[in-house]
Amino acid sequence: MAELRLIDAINQALHEEMERDERVLVLGEDVGRKGGVFGATEGLYDRFGGERVIDTPLAESSIVGVAIGMAANGLLPVAEIQFADFIFPAMNQILSEAARMRYRSNGAFGCPLVIRAPYGGGVHGALYHSQSVEAFFAHIPGLKVVVPYHPGDAKGLLKASIRDPDPVLFFEHKKLYRMVRGEVPEGDYIVPLGKAAIRREGKDLSVFAYGLMLHEALVAAEEVAKEGIDAEVVDLRTLRPLDKETLLASVRKTNRALIVYEDNGFLGYGAELAAILAEEAFFDLDAPIMRVTGPEVPAVPYAPPLERWFMPDARRIAEAMRRLAQY
């Protein structure tokens, strides 16, 4: 099995799906000749040509809107939004159209569409190249939201998303693209949507995270392990539909919950996790639910000390783990 980076796993999944099914096509800004600004679509243009690998005009609403039409007429489009920060012009198409196509037509029309977008901070991207936007989309019934951490997952989840009959938002943390390597099974490897993964088993407390924060949580767990705190680290992988069973089972085992997300805390994705735990696992909790999140500012600032101030990291997560373990 090959050890690949996240970006390579995504590229491989795209190659394999386009090879396997001629209905699959890729569209977005710079995805063709350039192979994407991060290289996710590298090689696709040469292999499959400009008709299936479309360099679109710089207009996000029509990238998604045109993809919705393609999906209605028999294609399986994978749209790339160059940075998650630029997805908002397409919000109306995603929310009012893609998410509601099946519901509003009473099941008559579907919208098999994947929207890939690099998200997240820690890469000197400042206010408009660093955002975590998952909460906006995870809020919407009709959408599925996936955030891979492990390169193997990135391949398996992307393939599952492309084959899914409903619209999937696929957020890739851009700092993870080339940061860690992981085993990526060759060939037709699928990771089903809606299943969390326990990355580290533990008995003292549960940490729930996804994307880059999952990596930071794993580092933090090893750190506090030296002090005798045995943390369980749960990789949510799919934010909608949420794997509630794994979430609840982990808390019933450890009786302590720490939720980590990079987005600012107020009404972020983890707020819903906290609500579910409060509603359904209240009597299993030995301590208040804790969160480590980004601060309440509109976006990630640029200057290195400011960016470091913004980003939740292993050190902060470890501190929270200690507080939670001692509660």
């Binding site: 999906a71 294609l75 509601r100 099946r102 009959p165 409903d166």
Partner: protein, 344 residues
């Protein structure tokens, strides 16, 4: 020596014959226009009588819609409608019963099973894409459908409709831009009735003819009198043939009149002068076309009565059927959020 009247008939006949249309074709177009109008009027009556909460429709737009839809292959091609497309969706295959089921929001409504407001058409069997309420979003969808038709070599083209207000949306521009770059087989129709609810065209745009914008995308643009069915047909045919040949999209602007208020929640006397409302009656496409058919000797009093008797029966049947049909069960309201393995 030929009488003046006979010469007039001959001139008129040559107009539709030059387009390859026979009398029976014109009667079919007329039938759909009159059916759309009768259904539409009934819907307003039902709303005013308190039987349904809302109506939005297309009185005055029927000529433009009939001319465009007659130019496409109604079995093969796609249509992406908007809320005034009453006549167009009927021509594409939807039945009076289906439209009335949607008005009454009944379970059997094929557009949405009673989930959407009336006027939000959609029907996979007739290749009518489901539509929403935000204006303009349908334009990129039509481009995607047309792009897929091109890639999959299905031979289909796609027609999409919108009003003049919708052309102010970014999606409208983005769609024309994308489609013209990739020469997508799509016909962009604008039914310009001069008003976006109450906002007149001069406050919507600084151009008189929307079709001039086609130049900005490097595609042909046509402005045509939407009350003249044959003129619309001629232009639409050209646009459809161009799309079919793989030469790309066209923009067809039909100048139409809005005979009713925007919707049943609007009162257009508040913002349109009385003289204007009286004047537009004279270019009612149904009146204009009836006059043409009579002068061309295609429709006489007997034919007219026959057509309208049939239509009245159909509208009555549709009304009764839809009124008696059951509402959707609230237990079904959670269905079809996502694909269902065993869904219908």
């Amino acid at each position: 020596m030929e009488s003046k009247e006979a010469r007039g008939v001959r001139e008129i006949e040559s107009r539709h014959q030059a387009l390859g249309l026979a009398g029976e074709h014109l009667l079919e177009m007329y039938y759909y226009m009159a059916l759309a109008r009768a259904l539409d009027e009934r819907m307003w009556v039902l709303q005013r009588a308190g039987k349904v909460p809302f109506v939005i429709s297309g009185q005055g737009h029927e000529g433009a819609q009939a001319g465009v839809m007659y130019a496409i292959d109604r079995d093969l091609d796609w249509f992406v409608p908007y809320y005034r497309s009453v006549c167009a969706v009927l021509m594409k295959g939807m039945t009076p019963r289906e439209l009335m089921l949607s008005l009454f929001a009944k379970a059997e409504d094929p557009s949405s099973g009673g989930r959407q407001m009336p006027g939000h058409y959609g029907h996979p069997r007739y290749k009518i894409l489901s539509t929403s309420s935000p204006v303009g979003t349908q334009y990129p969808h039509a481009v995607g459908i047309a792009y897929a038709a091109k890639v999959r070599k299905t031979g289909e083209i796609c027609v999409v409709s919108i009003g003049d207000g919708g052309t102010s949306q970014g999606d409208w521009h983005e769609a024309l831009n994308f489609a013209s770059i990739h020469r997508c087989p799509v016909v962009f129709v604008v039914e310009n009735n001069g008003y976006a609810i109450s906002v007149p065209q001069e406050l919507q745009m600084a151009v008189r003819d929307i079709a001039v914008r086609a130049q900005g995308y490097g595609i042909p643009g046509y402005t045509v009198d939407g009350s003249d069915v044959l003129a619309v047909y001629a232009v639409a045919k050209e646009a459809v043939e161009r799309a079919r040949r793989g030469e790309g999209p066209s923009l067809v602007e039909c100048k139409v009149v809005r005979l009713t208020a925007h919707s049943s929640d609007d009162r257009q006397e508040k913002y349109r002068p009385v003289e204007e409302l009286e004047a537009i009656r004279s270019v009612d496409p149904l009146v204009v076309f009836r006059h043409y058919l009579e002068r061309a000797g295609i429709m006489d009093e007997a034919k007219y009565t026959e057509i309208h008797t049939r239509i009245r029966e159909e509208v009555d049947d549709a009304t009764t059927y839809a009124e008696l049909a059951p509402y959707p069960d609230p237990l079904t309201a959670t269905r079809h959020v996502y694909f269902e393995e065993n869904g219908e």
